[in-house]
Amino acid sequence: MNWDAWLPLFIILISLLVALAIFPLAEEKVKTRISLNLGGALLKLVLVGFMLWGVYNGHHYETRLPFLPGLDLVLRADALSMLFVVLSTGLWFLTTVYAVGYLEDSPHRSRFFGFFSLCVTATIGVALAGNLITFLLFYELLTLATYPLIVHRGTEASRKAGRTYLIYTIGGGALLLIGTIWLYSLSGTLEFTTRGFLSAVDRSHHPALVIIFVLLIAGLGVKAALIPLHGWLPQSMVAPAPVSALLHAVAVVKAGAFGIIRVVYDVFGIEFSASLGVTLPLAIVAASTIIYGSLRALFQDDLKRRLAFSTVSQVSYIVLGIAIVGPLATIGGLVHLVHQGVMKITLFFCAGNLAETLGIHKVSEMSGVGKRMPWTMVAFTIGTLGMIGAPPLAGFISKWYLGMGALEAGQGWVVFVLAGSSLLNAGYFLPILYAAWFKEPVGNWPAERSFGHYETSLALLLPPLVTALLAVLLGLFASAPFSPYSWSQFITTLEYAP
């Protein structure tokens, strides 16, 4: 048997098996569950590292299973999918550590971790999908696996959020399905191909292709939270902190953004999309989402809601990078996929720490918190500065290349959008930092708990510190081999015809 042909499938199966093993576990078996979780995550990390090395050296990993007549289930590790796979596997590991600490003593942990693993299975599947139907399959699985996580708390509010989430995502899934089938009937294939497979389609079908493009992007835009399809994201903040962290940084939102990348580059092909005239409207939608999300974030007092609107805005950087047709902007967009994930997960971890340790949920309660929880706030500060785009942090790299790319493509207006957004980011993040570090605390914390020696429990503290450190390193060593930046360059050279 050929090892290369089974590795992608195996990587997906690990977390699926972990999920299936965890579901029937009794609540009290904490140790078994933790070792299953962490063991699965570690094993996966190792395999993914191995695969990354292989892909870099030109190995071809592909699993192909018959699915429908003429259509296969294809899992393939190409350069683009590795970017997303590495991101999700790495952050999954950290989030698992965090979630173990976060959910100590709360009910239904087996259910939670089961769906949690299922969710990661779906995310990796989305990343490795080698054609549109495989992508669709895992994309829908992701919808289903995240629903129980969002309603996990079982309150009226979380049920309502879950319903909103479903209405948006299932609707989006339906659009995606229509688009996919229509595309299949026109082209006869759904295989992702570098630079797209549609330029050969007869000219008379081009209007239909434009409609299909709109359908697909609308379906994916629901998860990527493009306006006006972003409504579910701020609502689903009622979920536990590890879930929000995962939803925002890795799983759901990124699956949408990643899907848009796939559709634009590997289905339509960037140059063909440009010739259809669909990239400029997409860029405009992305730009308005960036500004709108930032504006809404300014007025949120709930910390997690503020972060949620910030995500709405930040994810559209990725889309914007794609929609500006030009190699440099592409690099900016792709690299932001990773950078935003690392930074945003830091912020959500920190928000979770504040809520769990001190009972802080609102920005207005954060005065002086820097003295009580210095390490958490250091991580938070790094995350926010990165978001604003201060050099030498990771966020700066993305913004720099987006701006350069826009100028290169002759779309100067984008620079104004970026500058405006940075100002707005500063507007909603800096007051938090100021309050946390320089203001005196007012009275007692809402609900303080003591975790012994450290400011909070180690399982909660370490993950944000690690991700914050990553955000710094990604910025400082952007040009090192295997950094997301050099990897994005590698992808970009493939996507643009020489």
């Binding site: 579901f23 299973l65 018959p66 699915f67 429908l68 007549p69 239904h108 259910r111 669709l136 399959l137 829908e140 699985l141 919808t143 289903l144 629903y147 129980p148 309603v151 079982g154 309150t155 009226e156 049920r159 879950g162 319903r163 479903l166 299932i170 609707g171 899934g173 339906a174 399905l177 229509i178 089938i181 229509w182 299949y184 009937s185």
Partner: protein, 469 residues
């Protein structure tokens, strides 16, 4: 063999009522084994034709097993296995002595129906099936279910009567009741049109296609859980199977408009059934309306028949049979556990009956047509056929139906996740019943991964080979 076994079983259950459970279970396994044997034979040697007692058509009774009837037999066997296991825990001794003979009789009728090669034989089995089904509905006792059973009986008899009239007309005109001979001799004439109209409307009544669905929700909603599962999964499918055979094999003269009409009724059933299912407050009634809706999907095959739409419909049929069995079983578990099935009060079932709820959710995924599931494959094939033939409006119906299904399935699941501290009087659910439900739901999902295999079986003996090309 496949037909005789359950008949023998029915008789022996009748003779030794005390041991009917064991006789039933043992026979279930033997039937499943013999169906498996038959499948192997057909897959290896292609479609077979047997003349019972050596009498060839048009005189004797002929049995035909091609890919389509084989799949129907197989799904019946799988569903039957689960139902048998489930019922062995569900019924108490008193009910069991009535249940098992009837169930075995029903199984015999179903198997005979799927294997029959002539339309008169089909009539006999159809009648047998109808009577057994009616008796099973009445098994729950109580005013509601007796009323429902009575109505079901009348509908069933009326449907069979119409069908029989059609058979008589055809026999009078062409002197045979064998389907393949009929197909050769048939020519367009008023008598044929009348026969076709009669048979079709009789079968539509039995299949409960909108607007003839009025009898189904009370009958399915009031019967005991395993019986509801049987009726929804298999019995209504049997009359659909006959329709499919008749329209594609015997009456290929059927016009484009007639196909569109059936499709239109199907579309109406999808939307109407979906809306009504969403408005139900009782779980079992909701599932029953969902059956009305899913039957609508099946009829979308008729306008699309020429482009292999029938394969899509059969795929949907198979996955619906599995998923609906799981769903009714899950509903039965919940009913047993909570003592009621009002959807608004289902809190905490998720916590206390995780396997049952898991079964319900997985079955729901298949019904919605989300990947990966059998329902998804069926829907994909049907959508593809719709777009290929330029009849995209059927595609819209499919998508809208999927969204409606999503709405009512998640209505239930959402309620089940809420925390509540209402003290419930609850009764333990036997583990066999939970496993049976979960097993069926997993099969419905698994059907999403073996499409090439199933589709190749459908091609065996190429049923409707001429009509589809």
């Amino acid at each position: 063999m496949v037909i005789l076994l359950p008949i023998v079983a029915a008789l022996s259950c009748f003779l030794w009522p005390g041991r009917s459970i064991w006789i039933g279970l043992i026979n279930t396994f033997t039937i499943v084994l013999s169906v498996a044997g038959l499948s192997l034979q057909v897959v290896e040697q292609g479609a077979g034709r047997y003349a019972v007692g050596g009498w060839e058509a048009p005189l004797g009774i002929a049995l035909v097993s091609d890919g389509l009837s084989l799949l129907m037999l197989m799904v019946t066997a799988v569903v039957g296995l689960a139902i048998s296991v489930y019922s062995s825990c569900y019924f108490n001794q008193d009910k069991a002595r009535h249940f098992w003979p009837l169930w075995m009789l029903l199984w015999a009728a179903l198997n005979a129906l799927f294997l029959s090669a002539d339309i008169f034989n089909i009539y006999v089995t159809l009648e047998l099936m109808g009577l057994a089904a009616v008796a099973l509905v009445a098994l729950a006792g109580g005013k509601n279910s007796l009323g429902a059973a009575m109505r079901y009986l009348l509908v069933s008899l009326l449907g069979s009567l119409f069908y029989l009239l059609g058979v008589v007309l055809l026999y009078h005109s062409f002197g045979t009741v064998d389907m393949s001979l009929l197909a050769q001799r048939l020519e367009s004439s008023p008598a044929v049109w009348a026969a076709m109209g009669l048979m079709t409307s009789g079968l539509l009544l039995k299949t409960a296609l909108f607007p003839l669905h009025f009898w189904l929700p009370p009958a399915h909603g009031n019967a005991p859980a395993p019986v509801s599962a049987l009726l929804s999964a298999l019995v209504v499918k049997a009359s659909f199977y006959i329709l499919l055979r008749l329209w594609l094999e015997v009456f290929p003269v059927a016009s484009f408009e007639a196909g569109q009409l059936l499709g239109l009724l199907g579309a109406a059933a999808v939307l109407w059934g979906g809306v009504l299912a969403l408005r139900q407050t009782r779980l079992k009634l909701m599932i029953a309306y969902s059956t009305v809706m899913q039957i609508g999907y099946l009829f979308l095959a008729f306008p699309l028949a020429s482009i292999a739409g029938w394969k899509a419909a059969v795929y949907l049929l198979l996955s619906h049979a599995l998923a609906k069995t799981a769903m009714f079983m899950a509903a039965g578990n919940i009913l047993l556990y909570e003592g009621h099935d009002r959807i608004a009060e289902l809190d905490r079932v998720a916590q206390r009956l995780p396997m049952t709820l898991g079964a319900f959710a997985l079955a729901g995924v298949s019904l919605m047509g989300l990947p990966p599931s059998g329902g998804f494959i069926g829907k994909w094939l049907l959508l593809e056929a719709a777009i290929r033939s330029g009849q995209w409006w059927w595609g819209i119906v499919l998508i809208a139906g999927g969204l409606l299904t999503g709405a009512y399935v998640f209505k239930v699941i959402g309620f089940a996740f809420t925390q509540s501290n209402l003290p419930h009087e609850s009764r333990a659910v036997p583990i066999g019943m939970e496993w049976a439900a979960l097993f069926m739901a997993m099969l419905a999902i698994g059907l999403g991964f073996i499409a090439p295999w199933i589709l190749s079986i459908m091609d065996t003996g190429s049923p409707f080979g001429v009509a589809t090309r």
